[in-house]
């Protein structure tokens, strides 16, 4: 569906992304795993077009990604934003559905993310976890086939993380492709089908847990199939 080829982005002398290449397949939940500062947010912003990149190419269905195609195919939900703080959650959801032209039913998304009690609250008055759920709901209401979510579990407690993970899996099962940036590897292992390991702006490996483990087997025949261990070994 989307192929990223040798994407490079530098902030002055600091190279945030260096020859990043990866592929995103239709209908999968792809996890972008990396420590803080690995370049996950920069990669998402470059993919979404909110940040210009220096070189490389993004290919969509075999064609170089144009701005118009990007706007209709990829939606990016950033981390750490607090949009429309004076407006209610209900209005924000209505706006997202109307402005972006999504066809998803708002009541279904509200129920799935348990946002009912928060509908009358202002966006600016939500706690970090509540806001994260509201933002995810906005993302789910958009019609773009590919949804990029930056740290969807950040600020959530264990129960909320599990519930959110389930909601994301259900959303993907309904036909949406998800690309999630996650620094908690345990969370990523529960939710994602495949993984891209990013460290210091470089892709270290890409694949399912089995595929990642297979890369280590020749040198570490007894290596366990835990994502944490694979990440540490491959990055």
């Amino acid at each position: 569906m989307v192929v990223v080829d040798r994407l490079t982005k530098a902030y002055g002398r600091l190279t945030a992304l260096s020859d990043v290449s990866l592929s995103i397949r239709s209908g999968e939940v792809l996890g972008l795993i990396g420590p803080n500062g690995a370049g996950k947010t920069t990669l998402f912003e470059c993919l979404a077009g909110v940040l210009p990149y220096d070189s490389g190419e993004i290919v969509l269905d075999g064609q170089p990604l144009t701005a118009a195609a990007r706007a209709s195919r990829i939606f990016y939900m950033p981390d750490g934003i607090a949009p429309w703080p004076s407006q209610t959650v209900k209005w924000a959801l209505d706006f997202a559905a109307g402005f972006f032209g999504g066809s998803a039913a708002i009541p279904d998304v509200v129920k799935r993310l348990d946002l009912g009690p928060l509908l009358a609250s202002r966006m600016g008055a939500l706690s970090k976890g509540q806001r994260k759920r509201a933002l995810l709901a906005i993302g789910m209401l958009t019609p773009h086939p590919l949804l990029l979510c930056d740290e969807p579990f950040d600020g959530l407690d264990l129960r909320q993380t599990r519930e959110m993970g389930t909601a994301l899996r259900e959303h993907a099962a309904a036909g949406r492709t998800l690309f999630l940036s996650i620094h908690q590897i345990g969370d990523a292992a529960r939710v994602c089908d495949r993984f891209v390991l990013l460290s210091a702006g470089r892709v270290c490996a890409e694949g399912t847990i089995e595929e990642l483990a297979a890369r280590l087997r020749p040198s570490h025949p007894d290596h366990p199939l835990h994502l944490e261990d694979l990440f540490l070994a491959l990055t």
């Binding site: 912003e45 979404a48 077009g49 909110v50 940040l51 210009p52 701005a67 118009a68 706007a71 209709s72 990829i74 939606f75 990016y76 939900m77 950033p78 750490g80 934003i81 607090a82 949009p83 429309w84 703080p85 004076s86 407006q87 209610t88 209005w91 706006f95 997202a96 109307g98 402005f99 972006f100 032209g101 202002r122 906005i138 958009t142 773009h144």
Partner: protein, 445 residues
Amino acid sequence: MRLRKGPFVWLLEKEWRELLASRAWWVLLAMSGPLIGVSFISAVRTYAELSGYGGAAEGVGVGEAFSPLVGVWAPTFSACELAAAFLLPFVAIRVMSGDRQSGALKLELQQPMSVLWRVGAKAIVLGVAWLLASVPAAIAILLWRSYGGAVYPPEIGAVAAGHVLNAGLTIALASAAASLTDHPSTAAIVTLSVTVGTWIVNFIAAVEGGIWERIAGYTPTAIVAEFQHGLIRLDVVLIAIALTALGLALAAVWMHIGTPVRARASESIVLAALTAAIVFGATFLTASWDLSENRMNSFPKADEAVLRQIRQPLRIEAHLAAEDPRRVDLEHKVLSKLRRVMPRVDVRYVAATSTGLFEQAGAHYGEVWYRLGDNGVPMMSRETTVEGVLETIYGLAGVEMPVESGEIFRGHPLAVPPRRAASVFYGFWPALVIAAGVFQWRRQS
């Protein structure tokens, strides 16, 4: 059946709701009443006294020559200029940079809509916001009518148009600053610096004259001043619109955070160059319309008819310093009117200093030389009055002085105090705004 709203309507609604949530706008709205009120009350009181109220000018008849345009509407609407310079920028910056601060811009930019539409939605809402903040000025007109005061709609329309253009310039400037800078406080400093910069240009123009004087003619203060005299100049209107469009276009260019900075800078340079070309071209346009009831920007009709028949270019060389009151009289009371009827007037000022204080003793200081056509005989005069200058020009052209029609503007004296104005502007209006603000806050809660 409920109609499905398009993305632009959603955006307009969002901008409107964000405006209603903006404290800066409510402050502007609440302050506009007292600001306009104090100007209106003071102007009406002075107008009444000059018209003979309280025996202050009884029998003198000063008010007979009074026009409400100069006596009431110019000072009343000047409060709008104050609000546009010091309050409106903060509202515009709040609306423009709020999305970037909250992160909403990153979401909204993913809707495939032109950034021009995005900036357009914000500009429309800010324009409506300004019109609502100008409602006290409309109330002042109603009060004036209730006192029995004369209202001449074309001249009030000219004053209002001037303030709309000025507000447009302010909105565009603040929008560009908000889009170009990372933080609203930086944008506020940039906007106020540009405003103060235009005042400095006006000051330098008053001292230095020359090219500065020409540039100063297009600063917001000068634009408003001309409209407040009921004069609409095509060049001024076009330049104001071009600069407003430039500001909004720059805001659109720099709002597009996904475009490389170098590309945005290049687009900005092209836009600025294009605007500079339009502005330069517009300075050659001489069409203008005097909408004042007393024709304060025009010579008598009979004189204009004769002057229009003089086809040869007129060259004037005035040996007067920039700050000399005679030069101010000559420029504002005579030459500005002359340029309107004789497009081919070339004026050159000659002075070694800005004050002319130590040039007075010079043999040629104070002389104004006139030459009609390339080979015409020069004629000198020291007159700086309308009658004196016209007499010289008629003498050069060899035409008879026209007979005055005898039509004299008698003015609209009105010796009435500003009744009810204080309670309306200082009490009713702020109370109405506060009540509306509380209602809105509760509705959103």
